[in-house]
Structures are given as structure tokens and as C-alpha cells.
Symmetry: C2
Subunit: 307 residues, 2 copies
């Protein structure tokens, strides 16, 4: 079985405080803290590209593991803000890290559902091709596309990157099952002519209606109840959406992880950022749930178990 | 097993003749016909996007199959010329085709190796998730990025799209194995600052050296000899590169498919365009080889068998 064994992360040092923008957007601290859930947002240097963020996340992974670069057999990058459209960012990362020639590289274009989708894609791909070690990067520097004057998006997104080490290993987090969905007809609720432009109400309604159903379908498929899930890792879209899903699913609040106050919504990196902090503390036999949702409209849920 | 059962294609009606450009590029008909292998190049309408080409390929697929749209469980688009960077083009295709909500959608960013890579990605993903029917689109309208005055690229690329129907079926083409590779450090031989800019000599040398090795490794892994392969479908980069690989592998020329004179190098669509013409004529038990190579630098080879 292919398992998640380590996660490296990178959050830029530079931060922008939402508290400095309360007047500009005619709002208050209670709103940015308790509804958006973002007090400050991480911000990369303008010259840094998605591949640079990936390389920094990889340095963190190397500090946590005894990885031999020559053993890496595949390298995926999940991004919708690639360095360039051609080549794929994973090729640039491949070159920067000096990965071996027999390493398969490709990018997945997905947003906030990208990590959960890609966990399925990469584990299936590795298993089918007999690969033992792979890297799954997420990097979506939204600072490149945000309109700083758009109240609906300017206070939410932070820059960051992660890399998940996937190994054919006896110990680690292993996926028990996935559930996927798409509503392409609704993509304009988040994007207009390729530009980020969020219809907050429509996106909220879609998420609040769709995610609980997706999670329940997955639990049913796996013959599990929500009480058997030890921790919930929902995409950190905003505090309000995480709270709403928690309520609609009737979850124990203490089991639902929330942590974006100091860096914001990092798109495909939001779930692995949470997981990286907890990974060492998940006990064998414990089950966790992930659910990502956003641009597309797209969503994916997964249940994993610690072996 | 997940099998290729049908392939739909789209080539725009409009063509640009390379014979009209012989003076401009100080070349002759022998060169464009026998070295490049492209006499005319298909050209989409300027307003047509990658998703529009996908929809037209799907219309062709529908005319060849008795597909029920509500049964489609996944939809991939391989492209490096997406409609927009956000959302993924597969979401737009999902909306345009009115695919069901439980259909998983994502894009793969890869160039000329994209079809072979994605055959492995999508079949592994479908198998792991118990899916019975999926669509694999390729669409890379290079007319959007080509410099018409650059002799190294202007005479080569044509626009097109394909869609491969993948089904859990007893009859169809089934993959026996894959081989993948990457050389990210060399990506600038095809791209400079995100713009197509081909170092023809370097790309030729890379391909001529790498692809025969990749193919031979795959044959060895599968305990097959090249004589057991009934037909060879190499990426149609140019006639010269197909001829060179044929010679270096010592293949019987009659078994190597070549057909790009009338439309050009269609990037990720080149191999499925060839396959679409032959699919009905491959007999049960026959084996075929695919190999794609290009931007990244990236390559992938596969052996498939007709069930």
C-alpha cells in the first residue's frame, strides 16, 4: 500500500495583516477573525514562482526525512498558478531538485480540491506502475492573481506550498476510499474570464449543500459512521464555511481542525498544511477525513487510516 | 480491466499550406515533405478555445458510440493551452457536455508525452476508484503560441483534439505496461521564458538517444521482443524523428505508422489521432507500442494489447 509518511511545508515569512485593512474594507476585527478566520496572510516575494515554493517545501521535507533523491520515482505538482503554461512546473522542480531521469513528472490542474484528488491520482498511479516513492507538491500562489481591492477575495488568500512524501510503507496514512464531484456549469461563481471573482453567496451555498452529502456518501460506501472518524480536515476556505459544514454534519467541534488565522486560505496547500502538524500525533488505527472544495466547481473527500 | 474502446477526433477544416511558405523560409518542398513531414497544418478559429475543440471531438465520439452521458464517471483534459489557468479546462468541458455531478474532472499538464502518461493515470485512477467509464481528452492548440516567423516551429504544429473512451470492457485495447521519464534540466531546449523556442538539434539528439532506450527497457520489463509488436505509434514530432527512431530501433518500416502530412504535429493529440484510424483494424491478440516525447523534457512509452 502507498502511504503518506512525511509532509514538508513552506510559508513565506512576509505577512500582510488584515487588521490594517479594516478601514479600507469598512469591516471589523470580529468579522476577519470569526467569519473569514484570517488575521494575516503569507505573501511570497514577487519574483518567486510556484516551483520556488515547491523547492522550499522540499527543503523542509529533507530536514524531516532520510530521503535519497535518486529513489524518487514520481513527482506531481498540483497548481493553477504554474511558473509557465509550458513546460509543466513539475519538470522545472525535477530539474531544480536534480531528480533522476526515470522519475515520472506531471502537473494536475485543480484548485482547493486538488490535494484530495491528487492523493487518489498519485497513489493509484504509483501502485499501477510498481513505484515505491513519490512526491506530491501543492503550490498555488494566489497573490499573483488577487485584486487587492476586491473585498470578496483580498482578505482570504495566502501563499504557501507543501510536499507530501508517498511511500510503499507499512506505517503511514493510507486512503480507504474517495468520493469526487464536479459542477462545471457553475465555474463562473469563482472565476470570470480567467480572473478570480467570487460570488461569495453562491460558493457558500454550493459548499454548504454539497460537502456534507459527499462526506456522508463516502462514509456509507466504506460502511463507516462519522463517530468512527477521529479528526476532520476540511479545506480552510473560511472559518464560516468550516463551521457551517461542521454544524450540518453534526460533528464534534473538537475533532474538526481549524488553523488559518496566521496564513490564510492557501488553496491546494490548506489540507496538507494542517496534516503536516498532526501527522506525528495520529495513532495507529485512527481514521481521519479530508474534504476539499472550490474552483471548478470541484470537490473531493477521502477517509484515511493510520497504519 | 480498463480498455480503450473508441476514439473521437476533431481537426479544424481550415488549413495553412507549408508549400506557400517555401520562399519565406528559404526552403523547398522536399524538406517540408520528407524531413518535417508536414505539407499543411490545421488551424482553429481564433475564438475557439481548447474546451471547444474537446466538445467537437466528443461530438465525433458520440457519432461512433452509444454513450450515455450520465454514465461517465471521469473526465480528464490533457493540455498546456487551457482556456484559462483557472478553472481547469475539464470543468468547462464538464459544463458544456452536461456531465453528471459525480463525474471526477481534472486536467493534466503535459505536452507531446501527455497521451501516453495520461493513459496510465486515468486507467489507474478509474481502477482504484471502481469507475467503469471515463473520457480522456487531448487538446493543445499551438496556434495560440506559435511565432509564425520562427522557422524552427512555424512549419510544424497543427491544431486538433481527441477524446478516448475508456471502459471497463472485455474488448478493447488494454495497457500491458508503461515506462516514464523526465529531464527537467533540459526544458529550455523547447521553451524560453514560457515561449516556444525550439533548439531543434538538442531536441532531436535527446529524442534519438532517449526513446529507443525507453522502448527497449519497457519491452524487457514485459518480456517481449520488438518483433512481437504489430504496430508502432510514435509521437509525430516530424518525419525525420520518426524515421530516426525507426532506424535506431531497427523496426520494420511497414509497422511504423506515419500520418501528419495533412495536419501537422498536434502535440498530445498526435498518437490518439493515429490510433483512431486503426482502432477497428487491430485484431484480438495484437500488440501495439506507443511512445510520446517532447516538452519537459518528458517521455512515456506503453505497450497495449487488443482484447
Amino acid at each position: 500500500m502507498i502511504a503518506i509518511t512525511k509532509i514538508g511545508t513552506y510559508l513565506p515569512e512576509k505577512k500582510i495583516s488584515n487588521l490594517d485593512l479594516l478601514d479600507k474594507f469598512d469591516t471589523d476585527e470580529g468579522f476577519v477573525r470569526d467569519k473569514i478566520g484570517v488575521v494575516s496572510r503569507t505573501r511570497k516575494q514577487p519574483a518567486e514562482k510556484a516551483s520556488d515554493l515547491c523547492v522550499k517545501a522540499f527543503e523542509d521535507l529533507m530536514s524531516k526525512s532520510e530521503l535519497n533523491i535518486d529513489d524518487i520515482e514520481c513527482c506531481l505538482v498540483v497548481t493553477q498558478n504554474p511558473d509557465f503554461n509550458i513546460p509543466h512546473t513539475s519538470a522545472i522542480v525535477h530539474g531544480a531538485l536534480n531528480l533522476p531521469e526515470n522519475c515520472a513528472c506531471f502537473d494536475i490542474s485543480l484548485g482547493c480540491s486538488g490535494y484530495v484528488y491528487s492523493l487518489s491520482i498519485v497513489t493509484a498511479f504509483m501502485q499501477a506502475n510498481g513505484m515505491s516513492q513519490g512526491l506530491l507538491f501543492t503550490a498555488d500562489p494566489y497573490s499573483e492573481i488577487i485584486d487587492e481591492n476586491d473585498k470578496n477575495t483580498a482578505l482570504i488568500f495566502g501563499d504557501g506550498a507543501t510536499v507530501t512524501l508517498l511511500e510503499s510503507a507499512k506505517e503511514g496514512l493510507v486512503a480507504l476510499g474517495f468520493e469526487f464531484g464536479s459542477k462545471g456549469a457553475g465555474y463562473k461563481n469563482l472565476i470570470n474570464d480567467g480572473k478570480l471573482s467570487m460570488n461569495g453567496r453562491a460558493v457558500f451555498n454550493f459548499t454548504a449543500a454539497t460537502i456534507p452529502v459527499s462526506v456522508n456518501q463516502l462514509l456509507e460506501k466504506l460502511n463507516l459512521t462519522k463517530e468512527q472518524i477521529d479528526r476532520w480536515y476540511l479545506h480552510q476556505g473560511s472559518k464560516y464555511i468550516v463551521d457551517t459544514i461542521t454544524m450540518r454534519l453534526g460533528l464534534d467541534k473538537d475533532k474538526v481542525v481549524f488553523d488559518m488565522y496566521e496564513y490564510g486560505n492557501t488553496v491546494s496547500s490548506s489540507i496538507p498544511l494542517l496534516l503536516s502538524k498532526d501527522l506525528e500525533n495520529i495513532n495507529a488505527g485512527e481514521k481521519i477525513a479530508l474534504s476539499g472544495f472550490g474552483v471548478g466547481l470541484s470537490w473531493a473527500s477521502a477517509i484515511l487510516e493510520m497504519n
